[in-house]
C-alpha cells in the first residue's frame, strides 16, 4: 500500500498494553494511598498523560508516522491549554471576590 509507514509488531502492542494496565493499577493505588492532595493530583495527571502518549505513539502509530501529522492533534491540544489558561485570571478574580 503506497504511503504506508512501518507499524509496530504484535509483541510491541502487547508490551504497551502491559504498561497501560500497570499505569491504570498505579492510578488506583495512588488514590488509595492517602498521600497529600497536591502530590496525588500531580501524579494522576502525569500517569494520564503517559497513558495517552503511549496510546497515541504506539496504537495510533504517531511514533512511526511522518512528523507533519503531529501538527494536526498538537495544534488543538495546545489551543485547549491556552483556552483554560486564559480563563485562570477570571477564576482567581471570582475566588478572591468570595473570600
Amino acid at each position: 500500500m503506497p504511503g504506508v509507514t512501518k507499524h509496530p509488531t504484535a509483541l510491541t502492542y502487547l508490551a504497551i498494553y502491559g504498561w497501560l494496565i500497570g499505569l491504570t493499577v498505579l492510578e488506583v493505588g495512588i488514590v488509595l494511598a492517602g498521600w497529600p492532595r497536591g502530590a496525588v493530583v500531580s501524579m494522576l495527571i502525569a500517569t494520564a498523560i503517559a497513558k495517552a502518549m503511549l496510546i497515541a505513539l504506539y496504537f495510533m502509530h504517531l511514533k512511526f508516522d511522518r512528523r507533519v501529522i503531529w501538527l494536526l492533534p498538537g495544534i488543538p491540544v495546545a489551543m485547549g491549554f491556552v483556552f483554560v489558561l486564559a480563563l485562570f485570571p477570571d477564576i482567581v478574580f471570582h475566588l478572591t471576590l468570595r473570600m
Binding site: G3, T24, I69
Partner: protein, 193 residues
C-alpha cells in the same frame, strides 16, 4: 503516475484517507477540549467540590478503563492480522473489539443506574452535570465506534480487506484509539482527582 496514485499519496506523503481521519479527529479533539476545559474552569472556579471517590464506584470505573484499553489492544491486533493477510484473525479481533466496546457501554449503563439510585443526576449538582455530560458524550462516541466495528466485521466477513487493502481498518482504529485516549483523560481528571 496514474490518477489513483495521485489521490492515494498526495504531496504531504500522508495517504488521503489517513489525512482525512486525522482532520476529523482534530474536530473531535476541539470538541472534547471544549468540554474538558469547561469542566476544569467550573471546578477551579467552584468554592467547594465533592470528592469523586465518595460519589463514584472507582472499582467499576477502573474495570471499565481496563476493558477499553483491552479493546484498543484487540483493534491494534486486528490491523496487525490483516497486514499479515490473516482474514480469520482480523474477523476475530474486530469482533472482540466490538464486544469489549459493548461491555464498556453495558458497565457505563450500570454505573449510571448506580449513580441515579444514589441521587446523583444530571440536575442534582454541578458535579453531576459535568459527569453526565462528559461521560455521556464519550459513551455516544463509543456507541458510534461499536456500530462502525460491526460494519467492518460484516465487510471483513465478505473478504473486502487484504494485506494490500487495509486502509479502512487502520483509519477506524485511529478513531477507536482516540476514544480510548479521551476516556483515559476523563478517568483521571473526572473520576480520580
Amino acid at each position: 503516475m496514474n490518477h489513483a496514485a495521485v489521490l492515494e499519496v498526495p504531496a504531504t506523503g500522508i495517504p488521503t484517507g489517513k489525512l482525512g481521519i486525522w482532520v476529523f479527529l482534530v474536530s473531535e479533539i476541539m470538541f472534547f477540549t471544549g468540554l474538558i476545559g469547561s469542566y476544569i474552569v467550573l471546578r477551579l472556579g467552584s468554592k467547594s467540590w465533592p470528592n469523586p471517590q465518595e460519589l463514584l464506584n472507582i472499582g467499576l470505573l477502573a474495570t471499565n478503563t481496563i476493558v477499553l484499553i483491552s479493546s484498543s489492544l484487540t483493534m491494534a491486533l486486528s490491523l496487525d492480522a490483516i497486514k499479515r493477510g490473516s482474514q480469520r484473525r482480523l474477523r476475530l479481533f474486530l469482533l472482540l473489539t466490538a464486544l469489549l466496546g459493548s461491555a464498556f457501554l453495558a458497565i457505563k449503563f450500570y454505573d449510571y443506574l448506580h449513580m441515579w439510585h444514589r441521587g446523583l443526576t444530571i440536575a442534582s449538582s454541578l458535579f453531576g452535570s459535568c459527569y453526565y455530560m462528559l461521560t455521556g458524550f464519550h459513551a455516544l462516541h463509543v456507541l458510534s465506534g461499536v456500530i462502525l466495528l460491526l460494519y467492518l466485521f460484516i465487510t471483513a466477513s465478505r473478504g473486502m480487506f487484504s494485506a494490500a487493502n487495509f486502509g479502512r481498518i487502520e483509519y477506524s482504529g485511529l478513531y477507536w484509539h482516540f476514544i480510548d485516549i479521551v476516556w483515559v483523560i476523563l478517568f483521571a481528571i473526572l473520576c480520580l482527582v
